[in-house]
Symmetry: C2
Subunit: 230 residues, 2 copies
DNA sequence: CCGCTCTTTTGAACATGTTCAAGTCAGATG
DNA sequence: CATCTGACTTGAACATGTTCAAAAGAGCGG
């Protein structure tokens, strides 16, 4: 993988192969954006990039792998776009709502193409599956965002719940994504409405956990969630 | 589609075409079971059924349509298999647990092949999507099972929650399915464990809704669920 | 029985993701 | 420089879902 020459220069980023790899990826992403995933053929990608089909497969094991690269890009953009919110907003509700809304904003250009992405991601054997080992880094990064949402906020919670909450909020995001993928309303208005209603509700639910009679159930829920983690 | 002869006999079920249609379907289902969905080619199905490839496409628009027929079959089997439980069991927890466990039992032979099914179902454009219009009959039938789980049980609930609960339980089942699809443990032990823990928890949560402070949040949740229905 | 129309059936052709044996090239080694 | 090695590249071949124009069959009116 990495190129180490005896002239002393380690330069995996600009080595011939890496250039080709990036050329193929960027071409693929452009075509995906322009014509959608389904209509973009591997031949078209190779053609447009000026390489052979086989060469594309040398760097990316399948068309899905190119999509995964696309997905990773989205994740990165979300992570960046979320920074201002985490830096300025201090109350839990707007922090969480902001993070979720930002996801919609970042993903908006890809809504048409999200169906295909989602379809692939749903296959448990796909590396894109949000539960797969390959996507662990992306998932961890996403969970980390929610950890920061909580830690930087005014939320007061029992320690064990607080530890588990980032992953629960990640699940909430998965739910929003599921809804968004199916959302055909203009400007995905309904997805935004869902966030607007769901976030305050989550907030209220979390405050409820302080009621003694509720605490026990909460612990059981946390325990259940823990038990289903792989 | 339907054959109406002037001799007065309406016989769509045994008309030539229907026979072919069923031959193709049963052959496809057998091959799916024997070798999995992915490894079963349309050519193999046509071959085995003794017809041409084009003929299979004359009756089923795509390979996915054959899978949908498969899925409908599963649903039917579940509906039947659940009857004894609904007839004998009266307590809410064993009723619900029984229905969910029965789903696992019925689906067990198809676990390997469930990934593909799930993948297709996840595509919002697919008729197999659990949220699609085409699958509404199957979904309604499934929700109906959960309505009977509640109605025939000893559960005491506020009317509005009770009205919404069948759909919530259907969502719970979707969650179990999601987990099951990814479950690689032997005999899907972990999925069974999930049911064993989740069902009593659901029961406790429902009883909690009687606490005054919880009632309000419950109503909000019901409202939210209602608002996201299409 | 003949032709007409509609359904059914055929199989070759097509599109596209994927594989692979063989070729090319760049740098290292002697 | 000649050779070697491993990374890189090629394009034809393959597998399989899907389409389609044409053929075959079936019932019907004459």
């Amino acid at each position: 993988m990495e190129v180490i020459t005896l002239t002393g220069v380690t330069d995996s980023a600009t080595a011939k192969g890496e250039q080709t790899r990036e050329l193929i990826l960027s071409t693929a992403l452009r075509l995906f954006r322009e014509q959608g995933y389904g209509k973009t053929t591997m031949r078209a990608i190779a053609n447009e990039a000026g390489v052979s089909v086989g060469n594309a497969y040398y760097y990316y094991g399948s068309k899905d792998h190119l999509m995964q690269a696309y997905y990773d890009l989205l994740q990165d953009q979300h992570r960046e776009a979320v920074e201002p919110i985490l830096a300025t907003e201090k109350a839990f509700v707007p922090r969480l709502a902001g993070v979720l809304r930002t996801w919609l904003d970042v993903s908006a250009p890809y809504h048409e193409f999200a169906g295909t992405l989602f379809k692939t991601a749903a296959d448990p054997r796909s590396p894109l599956s949000p539960f797969s080992e390959e996507s662990r880094p992306a998932r961890d990064a996403s969970v980390e965002i929610f950890r920061r949402v909580i830690d930087g906020s005014d939320l007061k919670l029992a320690a064990d719940l607080k530890a588990e909450l980032p992953e629960l909020l990640w699940l909430l995001q998965m739910g929003v994504v599921l809804f968004w993928v199916h959302d055909q309303s203009e400007d995905v208005r309904r997805s935004r409405a869902l966030i607007d209603r769901a976030v305050p509700l989550v907030d209220r639910l979390l405050r409820l956990t302080r009621i003694p009679g509720v605490r026990g159930v909460t612990n059981d829920i946390v325990g259940l969630i823990n038990s289903i983690k792989p």
